[in-house]
């Protein structure tokens, strides 16, 4: 469910380390040719180079830095120049220091990295625990309803039976929504989601969304304002169906029964985007939570009890996967207005008959 801890041992990161080593040493060598420094002083400049490098790179690149520095120093600067000359004791000592420094420095780097990892790991453990707690709570509630309802079904009182059946229906819907939200969130995070982007007709998307939202919209009248000549655009129909139905269900849940929900669609003024808005007549979304509203496990202040806070994070994920966006505003007249936007391009023409 949660993104795994990054263990930066990819080949790319290693190549990057070696590239840093080569660059720094080449730079010192070139500058050393022109700098008015004795070859001994230059030996120390190389040492500083190795220290600096070893604090930010892994062990093997650090050792490579030591070897390369030693070789470059000896070849270019220790007289006679431009040859690998035999070296005296004090020069040899300096060369050995390169290796010691490289080993110590890279060890420190590794320690720091593992401390970082441990912290990340603890953080991810905490997230897992939170998720597990809320998921199990969310699952246990409908299960408890199932269990006690089944016992109640033995009753002979017909009105009681009807009530129990209603409770069973509500609990089933709740579990259904929970499981499909978890599955969708997982599809988003595990990267298996491959949007199947194709030409879509907005009318069809909204009708399909309304059908899949079904009874969950309850007694909220739905008004559609979609121009008949709205051109087709590119989107993943199945994802859009879920996105729109999620927004419809959200609107129905967060507003008083009987208030209407409106769906409006059209092209943006410059015809580069398709905009679909879902607005309700509820309390709206307070300014301060508007930014975090689409994060997972975030729930509105006056949200009813229950729910994981995954719905809108899935909406955002599905829209991004199609190259689109979602935003929310509370217009002055009240209510919340969610706007879905998708890039629009004209479809190539239909062959004439």
């Amino acid at each position: 469910m949660l993104s795994g801890i990054q263990t930066n041992t990819s080949n790319f990161a290693l190549a990057w380390d070696y590239a840093k080593v080569a660059t720094v040493i080449a730079l010192i060598t070139v500058v050393g040719q022109f700098a008015p420094l004795s070859y001994h002083a230059l030996g120390y400049v190389y040492l500083f180079g190795v220290i600096a490098l070893s604090l930010s790179i892994r062990r093997w690149p650090a050792l490579a830095a030591a070897i390369l520095s030693g070789a470059a120093w000896d070849f270019f600067f220790v007289p006679p120049k431009l040859s690998f000359s035999g070296i005296h004791f004090d020069e040899g000592l300096l060369l050995t220091t390169y290796f010691a420094v490289a080993l110590i420095g890279s060890q420190l780097t590794a320690l720091r990295a593992s401390a970082n990892r441990a912290e990340l790991f603890a953080e991810s453990e905490r997230m897992h625990q939170t998720l597990l707690d809320s998921v199990s709570h969310e699952m246990m509630t409908p299960l408890a309803v199932f269990r006690s309802s089944i016992e109640q079904l033995a009753t002979q009182d017909p009105t009681r039976r009807e009530q129990v059946i209603l409770e069973l229906k509500v609990a089933t819907q709740r579990l259904d929504r929970l499981v499909s939200n978890l599955l969708n969130q997982n599809r988003l995070e595990s990267g298996v989601l491959r949007p199947n982007v194709d030409w879509c007709d907005c009318h069809e998307l909204v009708v399909a969304a309304r059908r899949s939202a079904g009874v969950k919209i309850g007694d909220h009248p739905l008004t559609l304002d979609i121009p008949m000549d709205l051109p087709i655009f590119r989107a993943d129909a199945a994802l859009m169906e879920q996105v729109i139905s999620q927004l419809l269900v959200n609107a129905a849940i967060h507003t008083p029964p009987g208030t209407s929900i409106k769906v409006v669609a059209g092209l943006s003024a410059d015809s580069t985007k398709v905009l679909i808005t879902v607005s309700d007549n509820g309390l709206g979304v307070p300014e301060e939570i508007r930014d975090s509203l689409f994060d997972k496990f975030t729930r509105g202040h006056n949200a009813r009890k229950g729910g994981l806070g995954l719905g809108l994070s899935i909406v955002k994920g599905f829209m991004r996967a199609q190259g689109g966006e979602v935003s929310v505003e509370s217009p002055p007249g009240g209510g919340a207005r969610f706007t879905l936007s998708l890039p629009y391009e004209k479809s190539d023409s239909i062959p004439l008959e």
Binding site: T172, D176, S180, L183, N184, R187, N196, D198, W199, C200, D201, H203, E204, L205, V206, V207, A208, R211, L224, I226, M228, I232, D236, A237, A238, L239, M240, E241, S347, D348, I350, P351, E353
Partner: protein, 237 residues
């Protein structure tokens, strides 16, 4: 006496509880029911008993539903209803293209299932297959003269519009995938030209006065999969 015979339905699903509950619902609705819990057993059942309809779960343990479909199609002309899970559009499309007739996404309601079964079984009876003409709602289609009347008024359809309509009518109550329609009508090289199909659907709905915005439309959209033509939307779900 043939009309008196209960339609025979084969349920192929590996979950025993699902099979049992489906059996309750189906037997109560007057069908006779057989069960199989694997693709292999299903093929045996089909060879022995020739069911009138097959309900097939796509996630069987021994074989993918699409493989089962390919194996059963040569020996079994009965309609096949697929049970699939949310988010598996590719699986649904593959199954429909492999010869399934319709699908339901789990979890579904019993009412929905029975409505689909009724529609699929209607197709099997000759009365539903169009002869020279076909009527639905206010629309009258004359196949020989390639003429369409709406409330007695002539509707001018282009050549391709008529072909699309004809394809839907001859495949009533069956889900047709975008790919299938495009290949049949425009040829295999046009299989990805869904924009053609959207355009023709818009035109057809407009000319035939079929509402896209209400549940009562004859041309129903299956998001991301295809279309289903329902000759009698009120009789269904």
């Amino acid at each position: 006496m043939k009309d008196e015979r209960k339609p025979d339905i084969l349920i192929v699903d590996d979950e025993e509880q699902i099979r049992r509950l489906l059996r309750f619902a189906l037997e109560e609705a007057g069908y006779s029911v057989r069960e199989a819990d694997s693709g292999r057993l299903a093929l045996g059942e089909i060879a022995l008993h020739a069911p009138d309809l097959v309900i097939l779960d796509l996630g069987l343990p021994d074989a993918h539903g699409t493989e089962v479909l390919r194996a059963l199609r040569p020996i079994c002309p009965a309609p096949v209803l697929i049970l699939s899970v949310i988010g598996n559009e590719k699986g649904k499309i593959a199954a429909l293209d492999a010869g399934a007739d319709d699908y339901l996404t789990k979890p579904f309601s019993g009412g929905e299932l029975l409505a689909r079964l009724r529609a699929l079984l209607r197709r099997v009876h000759p009365a539903a297959t169009p002869g020279n003409s076909f009527e639905f709602g206010p629309i009258h289609v004359d196949f020989q003269q390639r003429r369409v009347l709406r409330n007695g008024q002539l509707v001018k359809l282009t050549f391709m519009e008529f072909n699309v309509l004809k394809m839907f009518v001859t495949n009533s109550d069956k889900v047709l995938t975008h790919q299938h329609i495009l290949t049949e009508l425009w040829g295999p090289h046009s299989v990805n030209r869904t924009n053609y199909l959207r355009y023709y659907m818009m035109q057809l709905r407009k000319k035939l006065g079929d509402p896209v915005d209400s549940e009562g439309g004859h041309f129903q959209t299956e998001a991301g999969v295809g279309y289903r033509f329902v000759s009698n939307p009120d009789a269904g779900a």
